[in-house]
């Protein structure tokens, strides 16, 4: 049978971010998928030699617009470890609040895009409408919707007063109710199930062997989440990873849906544990040595390797983002699929090309 090579991307209606897949088809079946990157590669890691370690916070926040806060959290934790600093307890709890608000709006964004990928536009609009409430929380508490820029080396630069805490809690009651009202649609609707169940299956063994991360890993039955490392304020919060076992697009969607609700719970827990205190400790000295620090982004495990030499400038900043880790599993699960399922499966890894092209 003759083979046809179909280009998927770098611009595609379901994925307005530039990744290109060369799909080799036999009839309507994918037999091979080859990814191509680099359309918007920014070389942000290399900026470390041109920006001092404080300026790098603004750089790493721009690795990804959707989870900017978690990038700077990971980076600041690494610098703090090198400099022997410990952020005050209030700062660590506030870091949890904003990082979980980021996860919440990221998952709502993705759930909407995912619904759109198989033509469920009303669900897409409902989810994005809910997401706007979370973006309002970000804007009102930090001054920005997306790049919230709250982390500094040693703590945070923004605080919440009692009125804001009460308002966040009240808003989250309504957000949770809105999300729960869509639960049966997202989990059980026949349109959703037909396009997602049994499609793009990544087995537990394959997820492990292919280095999958985040919901891609947990949707295949592996209970691993970097929040188990108890960074920031997670050491004081009740947390268990959300796990599904089917390994298909539905399972990955279910993990993110349940994690959205879990993030609301974590924000509440963190707000309940807020006590008066300092927002940051003063950073003295210069970063020296090397550290590895990891956090859980909405798309999965993020790793920063930092190396300092005692000067203002770091020698090396290495960023391993979760989408980069999930491209090999994606390339492995596409062969054998119908061509029509490719957009849904690509979306199911929640690809962030901004992160990948750091």
């Amino acid at each position: 049978m003759a083979r046809t090579v179909i280009p998927f991307g770098p611009q595609h209606p379901v994925l307005p971010e530039p990744i290109h897949l060369s799909l080799v088809l036999e009839d309507e079946k994918v037999v091979e998928a080859l990814p191509t990157l680099g359309y918007v590669h920014r070389g942000l890691e290399m900026l470390a030699v041109k920006r001092d370690y404080n300026q790098m916070i603004q750089i790493v926040e721009r690795v990804c617009g959707i989870c900017s806060m978690i990038h700077s959290l990971c980076y600041c934790q690494g610098i703090e470890e090198m400099m022997g600093l410990e952020a005050p307890r209030r700062a660590r709890m506030l870091r949890v609040v904003w990082s979980e608000l980021h996860r919440l709006h990221s998952h709502l964004l993705w759930l909407g895009l995912f619904a759109d990928s198989f033509g469920f536009e009303s669900l897409f609009m409902q989810l994005w409408k809910i997401r706007e409430r979370v973006m309002d929380l970000n804007e009102a508490t930090t001054g920005n919707r997306v790049i919230v820029s709250v982390n500094v080396v040693g703590g945070v630069r923004a605080d919440l007063d009692e009125g804001q805490v009460r308002w966040i809690k009240d808003t989250l009651v309504e957000v949770e109710a809105s999300i729960r009202s869509l639960q049966s649609t997202i989990m059980n609707d026949s349109t959703v199930c037909k396009r997602t169940k049994g499609i793009g299956v990544l087995t537990k063994q394959a997820a492990h062997d292919l280095g999958a991360a985040g919901p891609m890993l947990r949707g295949s039955g592996i209970a691993q989440d970097m929040r188990q490392l108890k960074y920031a304020g997670f050491d004081e919060l009740a947390f268990e990873p959300v796990v599904e076992t089917a390994g298909d697009c539905w399972a990955r969607s279910a993990v993110r849906f349940r994690e959205a609700l879990q993030s609301i719970d974590l924000v509440r827990q963190a707000l309940d544990k807020l006590e008066p205190g300092d927002l940051a400790v003063k950073a003295k000295g210069r970063p020296e040595g090397e550290v590895i620090t990891r956090v859980e982004q909405p798309r999965g495990e993020c790793l920063y390797y930092l190396k300092g030499n005692g000067s203002l400038f770091l020698e090396r900043v290495r960023i391993r983002t979760p989408t980069f880790a999930n491209i090999p599993p994606l390339a492995a699960i596409l062969p054998g699929l119908d061509f029509a399922d490719v957009p849904v499966v690509v979306l199911s890894i929640d690809p962030c090309i901004s992160c990948t092209e750091r």
Binding site: P10, H20, L34, P35, T36, L37, G38, Y39, H41, R42, G43, L44, E45, M46, L47, V49, E81, M82, H208, D209, L210, G211, Q224, M226, Q228, L229, E288, G289, E290, V291, I292, R294, E301, L303, Y305, K307, E315, R316, R318, R320, F324, A325, I327, P328, P329, A332
Partner: protein
């Protein structure tokens, strides 16, 4: 302060990666670190139950290491990235972009503007050439 990393000679790298895989470790990523004008090291990061195991492998800039992508397929992407950005070649790479992982490199023979080093693309050797192609020339910015 240094990270805990097991020094591994290039000749022992495949055996070390195979051992970690057989012990249930999951591949996380690799990190290239420049040491001086001519030397660098590659750190290999593996995870098991949230604990990282790191391997530290020395290599010269523009040098060659055995690819571990035959042992852990997931390594192919980062090995190609390191080839693009640091001109380190990986022998036996299962999916070899021949220094052209990044589209910009492939189309303009210049890598991203903030790469400290970039590899000048060699002329296409044509069909039937050996996988991996010829090493590019290393040029400092």
């Amino acid at each position: 302060m240094s990270i805990e990393a097991l020094p591994v000679a290039p000749a022992d790298l495949l055996a070390a990666a195979t051992r970690l895989k057989n012990d249930g470790y999951r591949f996380v990523t690799m990190t290239s670190v420049e040491l001086d004008q001519t030397n660098m090291e590659i750190l290999y990061h593996f995870d098991k139950s949230l604990a990282l195991k790191n391997l530290r492998v020395p290599v010269e800039k523009g040098g060659e290491l055995p690819s571990i992508s035959g042992v852990v397929f997931a390594a192919f992407l980062v090995e190609n990235e390191i080839r693009d950005q640091y001109a380190v070649r990986f022998e036996g790479l299962v999916l070899d972009y021949q220094g052209k992982l990044y589209a910009e490199t492939a189309q303009t023979a210049a890598s991203s503007p903030f790469c400290r080093y970039h590899v000048k693309a060699e002329p296409d050797p044509g069909p039937g050439s050996a996988p991996g192609g010829q090493p590019g020339s290393l040029e400092g910015k």
